[in-house]
């Protein structure tokens, strides 16, 4: 890869040298408004990447080829100017501030290009530079915090972070809320975003509301991200090479105690006193136990103690009984190397773009790796009235992650948390040679060495994506175009998971301390499983579009058909007991293999029409309609019509007098209404009753089948989303301040609910259309571009803010609550999802009621509603500071209004490693603010009832531990999402600009800081344990490793 890049670079250099016949142009750029000089203006030779920027005094000097024809002057907030080059060597330019970039077009549904001012609904474009500021290797991370109403949730970190993408919140209770992603006109799954090289993306246009997206009918209700990839630009061949290297480190750990060591009820009298002993005078704790995972032992005192047990050869470990910061020691510094090369070029008739990328990432957990290699080609050619464009891309992603342990299948993090603070965990990394790191030698009797599972339990995935599209267009008249786009996406995902056998020696197997050593149940058989999934999607869109003006009236329209066909196949096999160690194949087993197979197919057809009528370039009315036929529904229910209408009025063009207003320079009002749908059937055959093989069957020759526990429903129809929105855009002070605001309301009814129903019906759930969820929100985007020339500094900034709230209007008649996961519920009248948790009994004021003798609380049988899982406020703030090619970009994001159930805290309390479990020094204490019920309904403050044993009994067994209320906190946070400091190396001055046209070096950082409410001592509230496909946000577990920060450097060269 690197060699090829070098070769191409040399080739390019040779070419450039041959062509390097240049002349120098100089000049000054001033403001047409006030005559002042403008620094930082980009000056470039049209059709090339040759260019420079003006200095502090607005002056520039640029070497241009002899045959250069046009110079382009551009600056944020000012109208771009093109100056024809003749023989002159001095070019002075006056630049005027621009009202709005009227000639820019946005790509909307089906590639329909519309001018921003025609749009009656909110859209927002993110271009490549914004997207890749912080050197992301993942598109979703690059979008976070940049578009109001767009929420990117990184629900777990790691080498291939799981992300979830929603626009304007969750409209569906259980169906997917992920936005539709359309790449160069071809719908792709949201997971495909992990496979795209962000550097290939020219821009992402975000159609926030369903209105803009309604033309996609059945898939449009969640909004659409329209991704347009790069094409070759006119001019000489350009080669870009870049490297981004970043480092990832654990940034925040839960608050942990380092005061007490291992012990948990084992008594010295019954166990070997060599391993279980009292340390120091403290008898309020449990005795020290050398092999214990829980931390309810004596206070650390520095004396030498035995750790674990004796090995067969009689050797044993002595360690100082002193708490250390061992949890942080466990985590590695992850490294990500991203190398890119792209070659592009174009002339009047044809264009091409070719790129390749290689990303290699290692994680904060040892041996976790992810690598992605991708290539992409795009080219086009025009023949008179015909044109043809195609794209073809291939990417391969390989991921390897640690799996669960051999005993309880716990994640690595759990086993790290269950390591007392006096154990130097990193010294057990060498599980082959360190006798105290082996399965038998490891000190912990109940949980294995996490390094064991890193080495012996792996989850591997290999994903291949091929995406190709062909666009043929025929333009018989200037006003008419007929085009056909065919797209094919094909991907395979192969998972290969395995776990090695773990055999304990007879000593461990004999339960040496009579305390239930995990070796007793050994051997743990090795297992392996494979899953192959393949998806093939064919799309074809045939469109006729016309664009014609009749006097003051302009008419732009599209009619078309859209075909979608998807086939999915999966095969799974598993061996639960491997025989020959290290051979991970289903044939290497005893017992029956686990096997399954499924084939799914679905087809749909749509016909649609879309028209925009304009009047005098200041009033526009747009409407669209689409009818869908979808095979997943039964014949009577499969046809649906989805209409949308929107309008915009540019008041400032209607009444030009406003323009002369020195304050307000642009004003537009807009509004829209739409109806879209979503067929929400996980099983595309869900309208039919189904009798899968019953649990355990077949038993050899005996077959048996049982009715699915989900009641099927042949009357299912799509969920319907009706969305209305209204907004305005205004610019002040000649466009230096641009403000855009929207309000919307969407109602999604006929939700497809595999409603949990009374088991007494004979089913666990029934698929029904019922319920309505209402979303309301406001989005505000503010862009400020003050023309500051103070000392050559340029600054612009922006704020995007979204307020969103939801309300469950109904579920099913007579039902006002449905559980969807751990602590997530659909509750009528509440925001979605409501978080409901177990709690201890409390008095009406919320004080914990304790027993007057034991001082302990008891469990409240009813669940408590404590908030909701999705944020109400999302605020992004960005700042961009330029000084002579030195650029500092900062992006911060706030989210708040929601709560999080930090279930990881339950694991921390269980093992006694949480900071608050040691706050009372493990002494008896009164639960702060607790009350005693002296007679029914009468509560008096508790001043006497001490928790008898404020150690293990309380933190592991009491209702305080078994209930979740104490783990719930505000999920608010501020994050410093991106910081990038880049410098455009003045290559011209150094190398003369002949070979290297541009060079940029930079320092990048992501998630450098996070601020949370004090009460949240656990983890990143953006995390979510329920996975990418579930809407049950609002809880975390030990399955999410601690949050990380990423920082590194980038080098980008253009030849």
């Amino acid at each position: 890869m690197k060699k090829i890049a070098l070769l191409l670079a040399f080739f390019a250099i040779g070419l450039q040298v041959l062509l390097a016949q240049t002349k120098e142009i100089s000049g000054k750029v001033t403001s047409a408004d006030d005559g002042g000089s403008i620094p930082g203006v980009s000056v470039s030779v049209k059709g090339t990447t040759l260019g420079t920027i003006t200095d502090m005094d607005g002056m520039f000097k640029l070497k241009v080829p002899q045959d250069a024809k046009t110079l382009v002057f551009s600056f944020v907030g000012m109208a771009t100017q093109e100056i024809a080059l003749g023989s002159q060597t001095v070019v002075n330019v006056k630049m005027a501030s621009e009202l709005i970039s009227v000639d820019e077009v946005v790509v909307t549904a089906f590639g329909i290009k519309r001018k921003p001012k025609e749009m009656g609904v909110a859209t927002q474009k993110v271009d490549n530079q914004e997207l890749t500021t912080a050197g992301v290797s993942n598109v979703m991370n690059g979008l976070s915090g940049k578009v109001s109403g767009l929420q990117i949730n990184t629900i777990n970190n790691g080498v291939k972070p799981d992300t979830k993408i929603t626009l304007r919140g969750n409209r569906h209770f259980l169906a997917s809320n992920q936005a539709l992603v359309v790449l160069d006109g071809v719908p792709v799954s949201a997971t495909y975003l992990n496979s795209i090289n962000p550097n290939d993306i020219d821009n992402v246009n975000v159609l926030k509301g369903a209105s803009a997206a309604a033309l996609y009918g059945n898939d449009a209700s969640n909004g659409v991200l329209i991704i347009t990839t790069k094409k070759g630009e006119k001019g000489k061949m350009t080669i870009k090479v870049s490297n981004i290297t970043t480092f990832e480190q654990v940034s925040y750990l839960p608050n942990l105690q380092k005061r007490f060591g291992s012990g948990s009820s084992e008594t010295t009298s019954n166990s070997d006193p060599n391993y279980t002993m009292w340390l120091g005078p403290d008898r309020n704790t449990d005795p020290y136990t050398s092999y214990e995972n829980q931390n309810f032992g004596p206070e650390y005192n520095g004396q030498m103690v035995i750790l674990g047990g004796k090995l067969v050869d009689g050797s044993y470990q002595m360690v100082p009984y002193t708490g250390m910061d061992n949890k942080r020691d466990f985590f590695e510094t992850g490294v990500s190397m991203q190398n890119d090369i792209s070659i592009s070029g174009a002339d009047e008739k044809s264009n091409f773009y070719l790129s390749a990328q290689d990303v290699r990432t290692t994680g904060t957990i040892l041996d976790d790796t992810n690598s992605r290699s991708s290539v992409r080609m795009a080219a086009g050619k025009k023949y008179g009235k015909f044109s043809a464009d195609y794209t073809l891309s291939f990417s391969q992603t390989s991921t390897s992650l640690s799996g669960g342990d051999m005993n309880q299948d716990r994640p690595v993090y759990w086993n790290v948390l269950n390591t007392p603070a006096h154990v130097a965990i990193r010294s057990y990394k060498d599980i082959e040679n360190n006798p105290f790191a082996t399965v038998d030698g490891y000190f912990n009797a109940y949980y294995p060495n996490p390094y064991w599972q890193i080495k012996h339990s792996r989850r591997n995935e290999k994903r291949n994506d091929i995406l190709g599209s062909v666009l043929l267009a025929f333009k018989p008249y200037e006003w008419l175009e007929i085009s056909n786009r065919s797209g094919v996406t094909f991907n395979t995902i192969n998972n290969h998971n395995y776990k090695d056998e773990a055999i304990y020696n007879s000593y461990s197997h004999s339960d040496p301390w009579s305390q239930g050593h995990m070796g007793v149940t050994a051997p743990y058989a090795g297992n392996s499983s494979d899953q192959m999934r393949q998806t093939f999607i064919l799309t074809n869109d045939l469109l006729a579009s016309f664009d014609k003006s009749f006097g003051d009236i302009s008419l732009k329209g599209v009619i078309g058909t859209s075909l979608y066909s998807q086939q999915y196949e999966t095969i799974f096999d598993a061996a639960s007991a491997l025989v020959i160690p290290g051979l991970y194949n289903v044939s290497n087993r005893v017992g029956e293999p686990g096997v399954s197979q499924a084939t799914l197919e679905r087809n749909s057809l749509g016909v649609f029409a879309d028209a925009t009528v304009g009047y005098k370039n200041y009033a526009y009315l747009h409407f669209s309609g689409r009818n869908d036929w979808d095979s997943r529904l039964t014949q009577d229910n499969r046809s649906f019509f989805y209409p949308a209408v929107d309008a915009s009025v540019i008041v400032s063009d209607m009444f030009p007098s406003i323009i002369s207003n020195p304050v307000l320079s642009f004003l537009k009002f807009r509004g829209g209404w739409s109806q879209t749908g979503q067929i929400a059937l996980d099983d595309w055959y869900g309208t039919l009753p189904s009798y899968p093989a019953a649990g355990g069957f077949p038993y050899g020759g005996n077959a048996g089948f049982a009715l699915s526990t989900t009641l099927s429903n042949p009357l299912l129809k799509p969920e319907q989303t009706v969305e209305v929105e209204a907004g305005f855009e205004m610019s002040f002070f000649k466009n230096r301040i641009h403000l855009e605001a929207n309000a919307y309301k969407s109602n999604t009814k006929d939700q497809t609910i595999p409603a949990t129903i009374s088991a007494a019906t004979g089913y666990y759930s029934a698929l029904i259309n019922a319920g309505e969820l209402e979303n309301k929100g406001i989005e505000v985007d503010l862009k400020i571009t003050p023309i500051l020339s103070v000392g050559g500094f340029n600054w612009n900034g922006g704020i995007n803010y979204a307020y969103l709230t939801s309300k469950v209007l109904s579920i099913i008649e007579g039902l006002d609550e449905i559980p969807i996961a751990q602590s997530s519920y659909i509750v009528v009248g509440e925001q979605f999802p409501a978080i409901k948790v177990t709690d201890v009994k409390r008095d009406p004021e919320g004080h914990i009621i304790v027993d007057k003798n034991s001082g302990l609380p008891s469990t409240e049988p009813a669940l408590q509603h404590v908030g909701h899982g999705n944020p109400n406020h999302i605020l992004g703030v960005n700042s961009d500071l330029n000084y002579k090619g030195l650029r500092l970009s900062v992006l911060a994001e706030y989210r708040g209004g929601n709560v999080i159930n930090n279930r990881v805290g339950n694991a921390l309390d269980f093992t006694g490693i949480s900071e608050h479990s040691a706050a009372n020094g493990r002494q008896s204490f009164i639960i702060p603010g607790s009350v005693i019920e002296t007679s029914p309904g009468v509560f008096t403050p508790n001043t006497t009832a001490l928790v008898r044993e404020a150690s293990r009994q309380f933190w592991v067994n009491s209702s305080y531990h078994t209930t979740d209320r104490g783990l719930v906190t505000s999920a608010a946070f501020w994050k410093l999402r991106e910081v990038a400091l880049t410098y455009d190396v003045p290559v011209k001055a150094i190398f003369g600009g002949d070979v290297i046209k541009n060079a940029q070096v930079g320092l990048v950082g992501r998630n450098l800081l996070m601020f949370r409410p004090k009460a949240n001592v656990w983890t990143d509230p953006e995390f979510n344990a329920s996975g990418t496909t579930s809407n049950a946000v609002g809880y975390t577990t030990e399955d999410q490793t601690p949050p990380t920060r990423t920082y590194g450097f980038s080098i980008k060269l253009t030849f």
Binding site: S690, G696, F697
Partner: protein
């Protein structure tokens, strides 16, 4: 241009003609059948009933609360269990699994309208009665008349009066017996692969129905003024007889030594490769109450129900004990297991799973005789019950005989002063690990055995164990109105209707 339009029209025409085919791809499910005959539904339904009843996790509380098992002192003692703090989320499995199995039985019943298929219909009715009365024994009022009626649009079935359910089930069992007695000569044969209990022997199904009926009626023996009803109900089908020695209702689909395909009781403790399930083998230990009782009786079955912790020494723990300290795991007996031995409690991967054993039937009959409900010899029924229990636990007939003829007051029928007390104490020991619901029901209706030591946890919620389970959390979430209509439920005071204590 013209050519282009021509091509376009052709493709549109092709598209139109293949349109209906294009859109009908989801009308046949390639992954799972949309209709299945009774002979393929029945084995799964029977197996589900057996798995539900024989998964010790579903009923561990019975064993732990009634002196039969304890939790190893090496484990955190779960407070809900040890302190009698039942939650709505506790032990919901049997409720849910029973009803989904009931739906499959209802499908069989509805699909067997042809008189030739009456055998399938009768079996489905008998198994449904078995499921439903167990649900009543655990939860009292439960959905019944409106259960399994989604086709009528009922998604929230009301809760019926428990006594009325019991009475209706008795009628259903009568009807099932009648169906079997009236089977036509050309009745559909039920293959052994479908009837994984009696392999098509309908006479035994009739006896099972009659035994379930007798068991349900004996449950009500403590109710005042109920004797006349009980006797009349028994009399209508007395001629059918009951499951006798060697006629146990045992389910076996053809268990395999493969994870997910083993006897469900065994699978809780061991895996296919012979390694033990963590939190299974080492988690449950012997209970002190039963170990003491059996030791006093020199019961030869002790070494089958439990393993000696060393040599020939057996010991059990009392639940929740802290003072004096509980016996360590090394000094406590574990549940009986010897690899490959079907007689030991844990058994083998291929041991048949009991729904109703012959010795349980014999104990019930013995009690019915003692109560004057049926005629016969209480002594011979009791002795036969103990003998069958000994044989079931892998002992020899000679060992059984030696045991029943010993002079121990709690073993020998003639020596015992209170026969019913004797029958129920020995039933308690015999059903250990086999029929938890019946153990609990017997204790609740009779208070026998009367020497049990309950939990010693200082934070226990009540001195004696709960008398019923709480309605599942799921029901409270999705069928709340009907749950509320039952009235306030208290785990310690809301008794099942047949409970006279």
């Amino acid at each position: 241009m013209n050519k282009k339009i021509f091509i376009l029209l052709i493709s549109l025409a092709l598209l139109g003609s293949s349109c209906s085919e294009f859109l009908s791809v989801n009308e046949v499910n390639p992954n799972s059948a949309s209709k299945v005959p009774a002979k393929l539904l029945l084995p799964a339904a029977i197996n589900n009933v057996a798995s539900t009843m024989n998964n010790p996790r579903n009923f561990e509380f019975v064993y732990l609360w009634h002196g039969l098992w304890s939790i190893s002192s090496g484990y955190s003692q779960p407070s809900g269990l040890v302190q009698y703090r039942l939650l709505n989320s506790s032990y919901q499995n049997a409720f849910q699994l029973s009803y989904t199995t009931g739906q499959n039985l209802t499908e069989i019943e509805k699909g067997s309208t042809d008189p030739k298929d009456a055998g399938y219909k009768a079996i489905a009715m008998i198994l449904k009665a078995y499921i439903m009365h167990n649900l009543v024994d655990l939860w009292g009022n439960v959905p019944y008349s409106e259960a399994f009626k989604t086709e009528e649009g009922i998604l929230k079935p009301k809760y019926d009066d428990q006594k009325a359910i019991y009475e209706d089930l008795i009628l259903k069992l009568d009807a099932a017996i009648k169906l079997i007695q009236g089977l036509p000569a050309d009745a559909t044969e039920i293959p052994a692969s479908a009837d994984i209990i009696f392999h098509g022997d309908m006479t035994k199904w009739a006896k099972l129905a009659n035994t379930i009926k007798l068991r349900m009626l004996v449950h009500q023996s403590g109710m005042a003024g109920r004797d006349a009803y009980i006797k009349t109900a028994i009399a209508t089908t007395a001629s059918v007889g009951y499951l006798g020695a060697g006629e146990s209702a045992l389910s076996n689909p053809g268990y395999l030594n493969s994870d997910g395909k083993m006897n469900p009781f065994y699978a809780t403790f061991y895996k296919a490769d012979g390694s033990s399930q963590s939190d299974g083998v080492t988690y449950y230990n012997a209970g002190k109450g039963v170990v003491t009782f059996m030791t006093d009786n020199a019961d030869p079955r002790l070494g089958k129900f439990f393993n000696p912790y060393s040599g020939t020494n057996f010991a059990g723990n009392t639940l929740g004990i802290t003072e004096p300290a509980p016996l360590t795991a090394a000094n406590t007996s574990k549940l009986g297991y010897v690899s490959g031995s079907k007689g030991h409690m844990i058994g083998t991967f291929d041991k048949s799973a009991p729904l109703l054993t012959d010795f349980e039937s014999l104990f019930v009959q013995a009690e019915a005789v003692e109560r004057g409900y049926i005629t016969g010899s209480g002594k011979s029924l009791y002795n036969s019950a103990l003998t069958q229990s000994c044989l079931y636990m892998g002992l020899t007939a000679a060992q059984a005989t030696a045991f029943i003829t010993s002079e121990k007051t709690n073993v020998n029928y003639d020596v015992a002063s209170n026969k019913i007390n004797l029958i129920l104490m020995q039933k308690w020991t015999s059903l250990n690990g086999i029929a938890p619901v019946e153990i609990w029901t017997d204790y609740r209706r009779s208070g026998i055995p009367n020497f049990l030591t309950f939990t010693q946890d200082p934070n226990k919620a009540n001195a004696t164990p709960p008398v019923r389970l709480l309605y599942p959390q799921r029901e409270i979430s999705v069928n709340n109105d009907n749950v509320v209509a039952v009235g306030t439920i208290d785990a310690f005071t809301s008794k099942i209707f047949w409970q006279n204590r």
